[in-house]
């Protein structure tokens, strides 16, 4: 790779290392997995950087996050093939199934479910739109690029994800300021 190309990579792609790590961590839900995903994604980005035509730093972000997302899903699939029981499959994380999810039961017994826990329990395709929009501040168009779906799908996923998180907040989750919904201690 030429030095100027490497410099361009460092200027356009590397500033998004934190964003890359954030997405990887929220998708894998594991520190070590997230680190591996980020490193693999950065190397892959470097290899395919010649094909990246964008100029701006924000285009670089969407491009890199798309790679991170793919690597995170690949890593999950690999883990599943290795016999891990967790799954990205929505049927496992849907509301009905979650009622019998041991982790969810534990959280419920322990205390009110926090927003962070609720986010972790969302199916990956809903979790990623929340992370990209609410934490990384990507536009719908950028999210559509990263997740490789139409903008309409981004909107409907955001709406579904927010509806679920809103329910947790109304039930008293979150950082303790319940703006609407039943008072603390109310029956869920």
């Amino acid at each position: 790779m030429e030095t100027s190309e490497l410099a361009r990579f460092e200027a356009v792609i590397l500033p998004h290392l934190d964003a890359a790590y954030g997405l990887a961590r929220y998708l894998t839900r594991d520190d070590a997995d997230a680190d591996d995903v980020v490193q693999e994604a950065l190397l892959r980005a470097l290899r395919f950087f010649g094909g990246f035509r964008g100029e701006g730093v924000s285009q670089g972000r969407a491009w890199l996050l798309a790679i991170v997302r793919n690597m995170a899903y690949t890593s999950r699939r690999r883990r599943q093939a290795d016999g891990a029981t967790e799954s990205f499959d929505e049927s496992v994380h849907s509301d009905a199934a979650a009622d019998h999810h041991p982790a969810a039961d534990l959280a419920r017994r322990d205390s009110r479910e926090t927003l962070a826990q609720a986010l972790d329990r969302l199916p990956a395709e809903l979790r990623e739109v929340i992370v990209l929009r609410e934490i990384e501040g990507l536009s719908y168009k950028e999210i559509a690029e990263v997740a490789d779906v139409p903008i309409g799908t981004v909107m409907s996923r955001l709406s579904r994800a927010r509806k679920r998180l809103q329910a947790v907040l109304a039930a008293g989750g979150g950082p303790g300021q319940t703006v609407s919904g039943p008072p603390e201690g109310a029956v869920r």
Binding site: L42, V131, M155, S159, Q166, A170, V179
Partner: protein
Amino acid sequence: MTHPDIETRVDLALDGELDEADRAELETHLATCPACRRFRSDRLALRSALAAELPRLQASAALRARVHQAIRTEAGSEAGGGTTRRSRRGLPQTAWRWLALAASVAVVAVGSWRLGAARADTAALADEVVASHVRSLMPGHLSDVVASDQHTVKPWFDGKLDFSPPVHDFAGRGYPLLGGRLDYLDGRPVAALVYGRRRHVISVFLWPSEAPAGVTTLPIRRGYHVLRWATPQFVYWVTSDVGLAELTEFGAMLRLADSTAAGAGAER
């Protein structure tokens, strides 16, 4: 418009994806519909809660060093041509070299990446500032305390914030103080002061910060100019749809008033 339509539009508006005309239409509806207003305030509550509870994660220094080293190695091996790529786990005999390099690389790397991260943070914060300003223009949201007198506005903040914002009035120079409110930016409660300029509204957000001094004019976003500066005590974000020249003049007046007040030792 049906309610599901409106709800979609509220999301679009809050996400900064709705154009000016549609936003005006939405505001007209919201003014007459408590159910939709409630939907919007629930969404805003969710957004604040998410911002408060979900941190923006940062890559560890170890990961930064690891990534940087991997990139150098990869770029170097390509330049060398035909060298077999190293496994990402690394080989034992390269481990010591790796550690030594990682330590030196980390120092250089953190500097330049911090700068990039800071720029991205600034852009995100500017988006928040404009969103908050736009939200405040919706009916009934402009100010919690309506007063053109700084001696009414300033005490109003007492007990509501962990700091006491300086408040000035520039009515004599065409920028009357309209009021103040609490807002939530950059993950913390902040003071918002509202000034008028003819028929325009200027929002001033401030909170304690050790941000580096210097005035920055940010790229115009969604039709609003954004200025940012820092005093030894506070960081200021100012936004409005007045012309940039007027906003700059207003900013200079505000900074002068602050420094005069600070210089006189008068906490006002």
